[in-house]
Structures are given as C-alpha cells and as structure tokens.
C-alpha cells in the first residue's frame, strides 16, 4: 500500500520503522474570533500509528483546532508542520492534498444517491462506475466496514452512513484521519465496530487518527494517547493507559474544585475570579461555536447586588414545570429524549449541564412547541400539556430563548420593537389590532431595562451586534408574566436571577458549567436524553459533574 501526495515517509507495517517526524505537529496555535479566544497557544502532536483522543467540553477549542487543520480557516498565529515540513493550509483542498481528512457528520452525503456515487462525488474525470464500486468494496473490506456500494444512502442506518462517510474519507488515502464526535449517533455496538476499524487503520496502515470526543468511556476505550483541552488551552496530555475516568473528568471540567464551589455558594461568581489561572468571566469562550457572540456587554453587573447565594424556591405547591419520563424520538433511530424527568419550581433556577448533542436541542424544541412527545408527560402547574401544537407552550406561559437565536429566536428583517413583541402578541395586542405607539413604548421599556444598545425601537434587528440581538431575545422571553423560561447558552445572569426572584421558574440549559454555576440553585446533567443525576448548588462536585457529563452515573 502506498501513501499519496507529499508524503515521503515509508509505511510502518506491523512493528515497522518509527518515522522520525510526527504526521502532524501543531505549535502555538492561536485563534481568536472577536473577543473570544477559541484556541490559546495550543500544541498538538499527532503521530502515526497512534489514536489520539482530543477530549474537552464544547468551547474547549478542539473542533476549532481541527478545523484549522483541515483548512477551513487559518490560525492567527502558530505553525502547522506535516511530516516535519511546515505548511500553510489555505483551504480544504490543500489539506486533502497533504493527506489530512476529516470524517464529517454526514452533511456531505446525499440520500438519493448510492454509496459509490457519494464516495466518488467531488472527484473529477469520467465516472468509472465499476472502478468506484470496486474501490468502495476494497476499502470497506480492508477496514472491516460492511457496506454495500449499491445501496442508496437514504436507506442506510445511521451507523452505516457513518461508515460511508469514513469510506469517503479514506478513499483519498489520507495519512491523518480526524473524527469529530463520531459516536454521537451510534449505538454501543456500532461504536465498537468503529473503534476496531480505527484500530486497524492505525496499526496496519500506519495512519494517524484524531478522535474528538467528550465521552470519557470512548476516550478510555479507543485512544492510545489523550489530549485534554479546556477553554482553548491544552491542560493535560497523557497516555490513556495512565488515565481513568476521574482524572479525565477533572481535567475536562476544571481543577479548582474547592475554590469554585465555595465561591458558588457565596454567590460571588459574577465578579471576576482569577484563581489557578482560570478566569471566571463571561466574556470567555462561550460554549457552542455557533452562537459565539459578543458577551462583553453582558458581564457588567450594573450595580445589582447578587442576591444571597442561597435562595429558597417556593416548594409549597406543584412544580411550575414537570417533565415525567419523557420520550422523544430522535432522527438517528435512537431516542433523543429517553425517559427524561425533571422538576422546576417557581423562583428556582435549574441548570441542565451536559455536552451538546445529548438531547438539549430536543428539550428546547419540545418546550418551544415544536415537538410532540412519544411517551411521558409535560405538566405546567400540575396541568398536563398537549405537546406539539403550535403555541401550546406559549399559552402555558412557557417562554423559550432558543440556542440559535438567529434562526429560531428572531426575525432579522424586522425591527427591534417587532422582535420584542413577537411571541406575546395575544397579550400585547388583545384586540387583534396592533397599536404601534404601545408597541414602541413597550419596546422602549425593555430596551432600557435590558440595556440593549440600539438607537431606537425601530432599528432593524439585523444591524444590532450579536450580543444585543441575544439581549432582545432574552428581554422578550424573560418578560413574560409569570412565565417559565428556558435559557440558552449565553444569558445575563442578573436578569435571570431577577426573574427568578420574581417567582419565575427558570430552566437553564447550557454546556458551560461556569455559566450554570453562576446562577443555578440546582444542577442536573443530561446525557443521551436523560438526566444522569443532580446536585444542589452548595454541594457541587465538579469531578462528579464531569463524570456524569461523560456518561458515568455517579
């Protein structure tokens, strides 16, 4: 088997020659998006014959790092060397020519086409049907990936589609294969199959594999070496054999357990805490790259003193929101919400921690009246709600601040005032006719209260900065009377706390533990569609949290 492209290194066969330079060496990689430091002087070495796990929460920087490696955008500083030769990877084509390939989460597959057609898509020249089919079969057989080149992709299971993506990736015979959270859609068995394929790829072909994951089990089982990232920095590198779940969890989530829980208990988190090199400041890298926004304007507490760290939620009557054993089908064949149960009481903030992709989006969609439940119940103030009908949650006074505020939260082509009244029209315009004057007054009030930076209520939404747009969505949802709010990844902790103080029950879904700890009274962890466990604010044990987030019921 020969290597392609610029590589000059010989294959390492079984126990063969160890090549002098690693396949990829990234040094001092830094990348900034506006105020957000996604990667901070990151060093990463990817050697042949090794599966390197890249562990971290969302926003840790691992995906960003790999995207730079595959040429989607350049680093601000730092170097990347491939096989010892420094390279500038300008675009994905260049990366492919250098032998670096990433297995996409099948957004590059076309359902109506067959497997072999998908694999050959993007190549040039005549379509050599038989040749393509043969190649697919060869690759599939070599790596133990059972797929039929003639099947249509839309007929395949998710695991099979994953395998097609892998074949598509491997057809160019790359020397570095990157997988980004590959098992988020696979069953346990399918994951096992994947790992054995990776093992083979690495041992027999001398390729290098980078496995991005947030799942501790996966890292422990599949990787040889692990690099743990947090907040854009590499915090630890170790051989997987030296690691265990606790160590990984701790590193993934943060070192200073004691200090932080104390601080959390004292309600001091909203001030800047510099401890152990960790600044707890909301202007740090927020959780999910997709909603990176300007959070700088949100941090100043504006003189509202934090209420005391302990709040006693009114537990006397039925919880404001109760989900019991809720099941919602996911698109991938296994349930997105898998027996989820939680309670939120009036005046309390329940934080849902967990890495993205474990059902949080579905939970948000459910509470936005977009999904119907397959089993279980959703009750507001003790009254069950018929889910799935448009507006059912709104009528029950549940407001939602969606994750992706652009798409779901606001209409960019409308004005700020219009966006502020959008979801509450029935209340604000009870007689069907909108009074523009009243709308503007209401909008002006919210703009003032939430400190949204815009010249007037009639400013087009699209001209606001990301942070201010988020404030608009927040302002809208938090102002629902006696409403229940579902939070998104960014928020203004003061506002949320104020709402809670007013008796609103808040369900805050976030992938950033620090954000949750800043406001939540209780923290629950979501993994694969259910709640792994919960703990009260004062008892937060980050290690335990990390374990739960990684899939270990603790």
């Amino acid at each position: 088997m020969s290597l392609t492209g610029d590589h000059a290194m010989p294959t390492s066969g079984e126990g063969g020659i160890i090549p002098p330079s690693p396949a990829v060496e990234m040094r001092g990689i830094t990348k900034r998006f506006g105020p957000v430091l996604a990667c901070d002087e990151v060093d990463l070495t990817v050697e042949r014959g090794v599966i390197r796990g890249l562990l971290g929460q969302n926003g840790a920087g691992k995906t960003t790092l790999m995207r730079m490696l595959t040429g989607l955008f350049p680093p601000d500083s730092g170097t990347i060397a491939v096989d010892g030769v420094e390279q500038v990877i300008t675009d994905p084509l260049r990366a492919a020519n250098l032998g670096i390939a990433m297995v996409h989460q099948h957004f590059s597959l076309i359902g109506a086409l067959t497997v072999w057609e998908n694999v050959t898509l993007g190549e040039s020249g005549r379509v050599d049907r038989q040749g393509a089919i043969n190649r697919v079969e060869q690759i599939a057989e070599r790596y133990g990936l059972g797929i039929n080149p003639m099947s249509r992709v839309e007929d395949l299971s998710t695991g099979a589609r994953q395998r097609v993506e892998i074949v598509k990736c491997l057809r160019r015979d790359p020397s570095v294969v990157i997988l980004d959270e590959p098992t988020s859609v696979l069953t346990l068995n399918e994951s096992r199959v994947l790992f054995s394929v990776l093992r083979r790829v690495v041992q027999e072909e001398g390729k290098a594999v980078v496995l991005i994951s947030h799942k501790l089990d996966e890292i422990l089982e599949a990787s040889d070496e692990v690099t743990i990232m947090r907040d854009g920095r590499v915090v630890r590198e170790m051989r997987t054999s030296d690691a265990d779940a606790r160590i990984l969890a701790r590193e993934m989530v943060g070192r200073d357990v004691t200090l932080r829980s104390e601080a959390a208990a004292l309600g001091l988190i909203d001030e800047k805490i510099a401890s152990g090199g960790l600044a707890l400041n909301l202007s740090d890298a927020p959780a999910h790259p997709a909603v990176m926004a300007d959070t700088a304007e949100m941090t100043a507490p504006v003189g509202v003193p934090p209420s005391n760290g302990e709040r006693s939620p009114t537990n006397t009557r039925a919880p404001v929101l109760r989900l019991t054993d809720v099941r919602v089908a996911g698109g991938a064949g296994h349930p997105a919400l898998d027996g989820l149960s939680l309670d939120v009481s009036a005046g309390e903030v329940l934080g849902i921690a967990g890495v993205e992709g474990n059902g949080q989006t579905e939970l948000g969609d459910l509470l936005s009246s977009l999904l119907d439940i397959d089993a279980g119940t959703v009750a507001v103030d003790g009254v069950a709600i018929r889910c799935g009908r448009p507006g059912c949650m709104l009528r029950a006074n549940i407001g939602v601040i969606p994750e992706d505020r652009h798409n779901s939260g606001c209409v960019l082509s409308m004005t700020v005032a219009e966006n502020l009244v959008m979801s509450d029209l029935n209340r604000l315009a009870p007689r069907r006719v909108l009074s523009l004057r009243k709308m503007r007054k209401y909008a002006a009030r919210l703009i003032h209260e939430f400190e949204i930076a815009c010249p007037s209520p009639d400013t087009p939404m699209a001209s606001l900065s990301g942070g201010n747009q988020q404030k608009v969505v927040l302002a809208r949802e938090l102002s629902r009377k006696r409403g229940l709010d579902v939070g998104a990844i960014e928020y203004m902790n003061n506002r949320i706390r104020a709402a809670a103080d007013n008796g609103v029950g808040v369900l805050l879904i976030s992938a950033e533990i620090e954000e949750i700890l800043a406001v939540a009274d209780r923290v629950a962890v979501m993994y694969r569609g259910r709640i792994m466990g919960e703990m009260k604010r004062g008892e937060v044990d980050l290690e335990r949290l990390g374990l739960m987030m990684g899939g270990h019921a603790a």
Binding site: F33, L72, M292, D294, G331, N407, C410, S423, A453, S463
Partner: protein, 396 residues
C-alpha cells in the same frame, strides 16, 4: 430534524464585535435616491430596447409610443380605459401580495380568475333575486370560487406535501378546460341561443348585474371595480401593517423557523394566505364578468392572472406601490389596443411589459449588492432576497 443536522460552520455563524453601522439619515436618503435612479435607468433601458425593436422592424418608435400614450393616458376616456384594465390586475396583485408575504408562492391566479368567474356566473345566471343583492352575491361567489380552487393546492400541500408552485400551475390548465367544458354543454352553462358560434360562452348576464360605472366613454369613466379594488387595497394594507394576523404573516414569510418558535401555526396562517390569494384572483374574475365581459368565456382571463402576479412582484409586495404598478400595467394594456392603428402589432405591448418586468428585477439586486459592500459583516445565516418558496406544512 435532529441535532446532527445542526452542524454549524464556525466561519459563517460568527458575527463581529462591533455593531454594524446603522444607516444614518443621510445614508438612508442617499440610498433612496440611488434606488429611484436605479429604477429610472432600468426602465429607460427597457423602453430603449423596445424602441430599438420597433425601429428594427421598420416602424416608428415615436408613433408607437404615441399610440400607447393616446390609448392609455391622453384623453379622459383613455384614463377610463386604463383604470378599467387596472382594476382586476390590482385585485389579483393584492392576493399575491398576501401570499408572497407569507412565503407561499401561488402562481395559479390565471386559473383562479376563471373559476371565480365561473362561480360568479353560476350565481348571476341561476340565482333569482333583486339585482343589487345578486350582484354582491356574484362577487362573493367569485371570491369563494377562486379561494376554493387555490384551496385544492393548499390541501394537497398540507395533506401530502405537494409543492404549491407546481400544483397551482397545473390547476390553471385544468381550470381552463373545465370552463371550456362548462360553456359547451347545454345542460351546464352553454349559451342558450348558440348558433354554432365559433367562440363558446355562457349566457349573457342580466344588465342589472353589471357593476356600476360612473360616467361614460368617451369622456372619463370610472369602473366601480377599480374602486372596489382600491377599497380592498386599503383594507389589506391595514391588515398587513396593523393587525396581529398581518404581523404573523410577515413573520412566517421572513423566517418560518422563528415564526414556529413564536407559536405561529404554519398551516393556519400559510394556508389562509393561499386561500385568500385565490379568493382575490377569483374576485378579479367576478369583476371581469360583471364589468367588461358579461358572460363566461374560456379566454376571458386574458393574462390578468399572470400579469397580476407580476404586478405584485414588481411592486415588491407593497400594497401602496401595487396600486401604481397596476395602473402602469393597465395603461400598457389599454394603450395596446391603439397600437394597431399605427401598423405596429399590439403584441408589442407584451414585449414592452416583459422588458419592464425584467428591468425592475435589477435595481433590488443592485441595492443589496451595494448594501453588502457597505456593511462588511461576516455573513450571518440569512436568506438572500429572492422570494422564498417554503411549503405551508413544515418540512416532512
């Protein structure tokens, strides 16, 4: 839609720290002037091309344009003709505006006009009663007929997810054959004294059922159909700008996702929009029936449906602008009849009209290109300003 589909690309989802420059008043004025200039240039180009075409075929552009002008705007009688032509166009366009605003693309107006006329004819010929009442009922029936015809497409979309554009298109031709069928069957609507007339039609409706006309040609005359259309324009403009329903409609058209999150029922609002647009087209058919044609004829729509749709699009779905564009198109139609006196085939009008529509496509594209250049933001996920074609029902 699973969480997998929400892979997002970091490069396209990020926004910069600074606020995008909010257009100051000065910039807004400049922009408005630029827009007017762009339109003027485009229209001038269109007219110029038309003139070249006329000249190239050995006719006189001057004579041709003069004939157009004479037929449409020169005399008071001409104005009357223009307004008469504009009325049905305006009605169809209003319906299109509503549908387009909701993001539903109905292109079947040409058929809905016919079915509206058909329904109106049924009432006009078969329902006895005092004339004023029957006239009103006729128009109501016309609205209902058009709405029902569009409703077929709505139903197919909601029930089976069929693309609204395709279904409304196909229904046009079915409507045409249906009406042809109706007026060639004695038991149905065929004219009672048909003496082998080449162009079949229904019985002529009673004179008392004609829509009133103020004044009479050759002096200025005003078809009440146009007044009706104007009245509806005001109503529609109000509904769109000032009511909850209009607000929800706009939300749906701009961002169906956000609309759903805000509790807007895509089916209810989108479906209603489609029905109403069909209804207006049907009403236009009713107006044609009771103002100019006076019987059901298979060819009576005469492109009112197609042109009304184009009027709405040229006017960028703004109710007020629609009035002026409708008048303009009406003028073209009215003037076209006079062209033949100059030896220029009346088809020229279609050519001019088409050039005009094509010309008006450019200014908005030009402006958004300018906007993109001025506001240098990293692209946030947003739709480019083509009229979207989402379905009424949420994606399967």
């Amino acid at each position: 839609m699973t969480f997998i589909d929400q892979q997002v690309d970091i490069t396209t989802d990020f926004e910069p720290e600074e606020d995008a420059p909010i257009p100051t008043r000065e910039i807004r004025y400049r922009r408005a002037i630029l827009l007017v200039v762009a339109y003027a240039v485009s229209i001038a180009v269109a007219l110029g091309l038309s003139a070249i075409l006329i000249a190239a075929t050995n006719h006189s552009p001057h004579d041709a344009f003069e004939a157009l002008y004479t037929g449409s705007l020169k005399t008071r009688g001409a104005w009357g003709r223009t307004i008469e032509q504009a009325g049905p166009l305006l009605l169809v366009a209003l319906g299109s505006v509503i549908a387009n605003r909701a993001g539903v693309f109905n292109i079947g107006q040409e058929g809905q006009v016919l079915i509206g006329a058909f329904a109106g004819t049924l009432v006009a010929l078969k329902v006895p009663g005092p004339h004023h009442l029957i006239l009103v009922l006729t128009l109501i029936a016309a609205f209902a007929g058009g709405a029902a015809w569009a409703g077929i497409a709505a139903g197919l979309n909601i029930w089976r997810g069929l693309n609204v554009v395709i279904t409304t298109l196909l229904l046009i031709f079915i409507a045409q054959e249906f009406v042809q069928f109706a007026v060639t069957r004695a038991w149905f609507l065929q004219q009672s004294n048909a003496l082998g007339i080449a162009s079949p039609q229904s019985d002529i409706i009673a004179p008392g059922l004609h829509m009133p006309v103020i004044g009479s040609p050759p002096k200025f005359y005003l078809q009440s159909g146009f007044l009706v259309a104007l009245g509806f324009t005001i109503i529609v403009a109000f509904l769109l700008a000032r009511t909850r329903w209009g607000f929800r409609l706009k939300m749906l058209g701009h961002n169906p996702n956000a609309a759903r999150h805000a509790g807007v029922s895509v089916v209810a609002v989108g479906g209603a929009a489609l029905l109403i647009s069909g209804g207006f087209a049907g009403l236009a058919g009713g107006v044609l029936l009771t103002s100019t044609v006076f019987s059901l004829q298979p060819a009576m729509a005469n492109n009112v449906g197609w042109e009304g749709l184009l009027v709405a699009l040229v006017a960028r779905n703004r109710p007020v602008a629609v009035v002026f564009v409708a008048l303009f198109f009406g003028a073209l139609r009215a003037g076209g009849g006079f062209l033949t006196t100059t030896g220029v085939p009346s088809y020229l009008v279609d050519v001019i009209q088409a050039f005009m529509v094509l010309a008006t496509l450019f200014p908005p594209m030009f402006m958004s290109w300018l906007d993109r250049r001025r506001v240098r933001r990293a692209a946030a996920p947003r739709r480019v300003p083509t009229t979207p074609v989402p379905e009424i029902a949420p994606a399967r």
